[in-house]
């Protein structure tokens, strides 16, 4: 009787050990699956690079002799006029919109903001990446968000 009780106890212990090993193995496999999923997100980095470059490109683009879009944004915000004779503030917005539309995929929505200039392609609820630049000697912040 004592021997039978010992055998049963040993069997139960073995079974418990097997269950523990199985649970540890299961947790390990699940952890491996999650670890392999947590790779750096290339899409996020790509969008970030795109947003940074696009904002910088827009600011720098020359639209008339010695005047770039950044200068015109400041002029439109401070004086409501442009330095270029053949462009007004509405046309400036159209130029910025055209550069953004031609640079991004059709699937990308965006929101460009620079003082009182706001250009966006809706819906722009979930912002995936955003980049901003403070214009020197001004309180205007040029912001571009890709959604």
């Amino acid at each position: 009787m004592v021997l039978l009780r010992k055998v049963k106890k040993a069997q139960v212990e073995t079974l418990g050990l097997v269950i523990i090993v199985a649970i540890i193995a299961f947790i390990f496999v699940i952890a491996l699956i999650f670890a392999s999923r947590q790779q750096p997100n290339l899409n996020q980095d790509y969008l970030k690079l795109k947003a940074d470059n696009l904002r910088s490109t827009i600011s720098k683009t020359t639209i008339c002799q010695d005047t770039n879009i950044r200068d015109e944004i400041v002029s439109c915000n401070d004086l409501a006029i442009t330095q270029c004779e053949n462009i007004n503030c509405n046309e400036l917005q159209n130029i910025i919109k055209k550069i953004i539309d031609d640079s991004l995929n059709l699937t990308n929505n965006y929101k460009f903001e620079a003082g009182n200039i706001l250009i966006k392609k809706e819906p722009c609820g979930n912002i995936f990446t955003s980049t901003s630049e403070l214009v020197p000697y001004s309180d205007i912040n040029i912001t571009l968000a890709l959604c």
Binding site: K50, N53, L54, S56, T57, T61, S103
Partner: protein
């Protein structure tokens, strides 16, 4: 039929079935492995193209520098003469998007009345392709103007 013969037949049948099951499992494993390898290869190439997109605009061969300071722009005169090598099966093009100009590939003869600069072209005999692009600023030294462009890398696999 003797009992032993039946047992041998049973054993042969079992071995056959097990062999078929193992063969099927190996085949499935091989296909899965192959698909996984293809996916890894594609991801690796995508990473490589992404790295190239991030670094190419800052390379001294292409970028516009003022007193050795990089200006985050591509010098279009440098683009005319740039010929990259050993980049694999890719096509690297820089297109001007604003102001819009005629859709012509740039050369020393037609510069600056053109809109795209092909700095690398090796398509090989691959059929599939993917494109990644980023906006870049283009500098025109003759007029000292900056224009908007797009750096496009099309890679073949």
């Amino acid at each position: 039929m003797k009992k032993s013969q039946v047992q041998i037949q049973e054993s042969i049948l079992v071995i056959l079935i097990i062999t078929i099951i193992i063969g099927l499992a190996l085949f499935v494993f091989y296909r899965f492995n192959l698909a996984s390898l293809e996916k890894t290869k594609l991801e690796y190439e995508q990473n490589q193209v992404f790295t190239l997109l991030a670094t190419l605009p800052n390379s001294p061969e292409l970028s516009y520098t003022e007193f050795s300071n990089p200006q985050n722009s591509l010098d279009t005169l440098k683009l005319l003469n740039a010929k990259l090598t050993n980049q694999g099966f890719k096509e690297i093009i820089i297109k001007q998007i604003y102001p819009e100009t005629s859709n012509v590939i740039c050369s020393k003869e037609n510069y600056p009345d053109c809109n795209s600069y092909v700095i690398y072209n090796n398509k090989g005999n691959k059929k599939n392709s993917q494109i990644l692009s980023i906006p870049v600023s283009l500098y025109f030294p003759r007029t000292q103007e900056f224009k908007s462009g797009l750096l496009e890398i099309k890679w073949y696999y």
